[in-house]
Symmetry: none
Subunit: 222 residues, 4 copies
DNA sequence: AATGAATGAGCCTTCATTCAT
DNA sequence: GATGAATGAAGGCTCATTCAT
């Protein structure tokens, strides 16, 4: 990714940390991957922990942009939600960015280290605020729901995060071919429609038979 | 948890693996935690890897029961879905079971080792089948949706998994007090209602008062 | 070899010690080979060292017999020497005795442990005395040669020992097929003739041209 | 022997391996002997096995010179054989070379590891070729004897090897004082005379005074 | 600015041994 | 008489780190 030793080190370390975790990644492998001496890591960053933090910083800098573009309040809220979801999904699969950026962040969020607070403040919190704002615009009063409406937001983002966190499981369950046929646009549409329907701002997701259908629905609901 | 060395070892190891990962957990710490000698791990399991597998097996044995109780096809599908969701949530917070059982499984699913295939087959796959059956009963035709309807199922379970995988983030976002006030029943209700509404089998989650804009909705849906 | 645990243990241990040395052989492997519990070795022998001594004792008991049959002073000394040599060679390849007996003894002699003194006294010394007696009978005065004639004896036995100690080298140098074609009788003849010739009690060893041959020899000698 | 860590490590390891064998020598002892850290062995050689190979290489490099000086074909063959024998003996007792060089090689030859093939090719094979050439010059036709004349060569070198391999036994049999009085020159003379006599190229070793039994001996003596 | 050499602590595993039954 | 379970010590090796250059 980068030409200087420092950059190559971050890139190699990011890949290693994302893939094998902090403990599982060895500084020797990282340095050999980056094509630098073992001592370089201490020279440029001080120690392994600081290198990890540097990776995290690089990851959050490059990642936080996309979903926030949905922040434009002049758009209709449905479009904003769709844009937010698509942005998050796209960040996960953006071919212009190293694959490890998202994976590393997810690791940190699932098993926070002392560096997590910073990530939360600079990366997660803004996302959460944006989403809350979109949801409030979409369904006024959602913030006043129990637990300040957090569960609603969680229900939305959890669907997005699933495809990143549980990708291996999804692959195995669906079959590799079927899974790899999923693309960002399809998933963004699905999640947006699922969420909008839940919020009462769109039709139920289930195909044609569900759309017509007050009649059908009546018979099934208890 | 258990009185014999083997059982204490699994318990201590499970906690360590769940908390710090396979590489991060040292056999020395595990053994001292279990109150046994370092060599006991080799005697009972062969090596660290096999101990890990044993932990995974124990975890999946004790965990898989609850959501599957929802399998009873004589119940109305809404109740079954609610039961399934509540079962998964309860398993995550069941005070009768070691906390590490779920955490370990989630780790394995997010970063599969060679032991993952077995877990998937014995634990995940049955859950998935049950959920698909419930969803099909709830909304006939869901299995025929794009990608065999998997995304619909994923949208449901992802909401449940969120509270396990991203608990630390949720805690920090909501605030500790607010987060700890979440209980299984509330979450089960929320997720079930959110999902049923998305499937067109229940009212939108923001309640009747939120549904004034029928007009808006019409324009937005495509 | 033996049916009782003690006997099977000695046999398995002897094989292991002969093949991999004292340090290289593990009690676990030995016990598993013998089909007994790990604790049996402690039960029957006390510890690994004592088991080793027991192996050595068994080896020297069974081995010391053959060359000594050459002790019969009524035979002509050339025949006695031949018998002695053949006896030592035969002991090395005796199919009626475990292969490890000789190998273990050689190991002990090349790298003596505290058990070596006993082996020397009970096994080696008698052999040496017998050989010295034969040599003295063969060439009176040999005992009076420098260093009490020991080097003469060493020159004889060294030829025998070579095929046991350096068997792997000999195999590789000669080629496997050629080496395996060597049999006890041929070697005994060769070594006896070589030694007798050196002692002035037989013709030089070199082939037909050497046998007839004052004439031939004259041309060759300087 | 050497000033750098690598050299000290080889020297300490060589001594340990020669004395206690590969399994019997611990890397901790070796490193403490060499005055370096345990990790140095991994840094310089990779692992214990590679250190062992490095020792073997150093041993064979320094050892192979002396006997081969006898290769000069312009010398009379008797002198060449004597030189060869003396060279081998001298290499074993050369005070300028570490004692372990020969001992380690002998261990490897008696109980070959995977490194033996190389030693054989680079060290043993040239010695064997040289000896065969000398013997052929000494007694034309020896290469045509049964088994390609190998046993004749073995009869010669075995006498030399005896004093290295079985030194402990020889010491105990002869008595320490007597054994330590043996010097290279005496042994070289003895072995050369023994072998030349056997080949019909010299007087019997027991000297003229031992020649009462005229008939037999006359044909053999010069 | 950057590195090859070296370090001590810790890793997982295996050792020979012993205990309680 | 014999064994399954357990032990402390030591095994070889790798770790992240630092030093002198």
């Amino acid at each position: 990714m980068a030409d200087d030793a420092r950059g190559r080190l971050i890139d190699a370390a990011g890949r290693a940390f994302a893939e094998r975790g902090f403990e599982g990644a060895s500084v020797r492998d990282i340095c050999s991957d980056a094509g630098v001496n073992v001592a370089a890591i201490n020279y440029h960053f001080g120690d392994k922990q600081s290198l990890y933090v540097a990776c995290l910083e690089q990851a959050q800098c490059s990642e936080s942009q996309q979903p926030l573009r949905a922040a434009d309040p002049s758009l209709p809220p449905e479009a904003r939600l769709h844009g937010f979801i698509r942005g998050m999904l796209a960040a996960q699969g953006d071919p212009d960015r190293p694959l490890w950026h998202n994976a590393l962040m997810l690791r940190e969020m699932a098993h926070p280290t002392s560096a997590a607070a910073e990530v939360l403040k600079r990366y997660i919190r803004p996302l959460a605020e944006t989403l809350r704002e979109i949801l409030e615009q979409l369904s006024p009063g959602v913030s006043g729901m129990p637990h300040d409406g957090w569960p609603v937001g969680f229900s939305v983002v959890s669907q997005v995060l699933f495809y990143a966190v549980h990708r291996p499981v999804a692959r195995l369950l669906m079959g590799e071919a079927e899974h790899d046929a999923l693309d960002v646009d399809f998933l963004a549409d699905h999640i947006a429609r699922f969420s909008l329907a839940a919020l009462g701002r769109g039709p139920a997701i289930v195909g044609p038979s569900a759309a017509p259908s007050a009649g059908t629905r009546k018979t099934v609901s208890r």
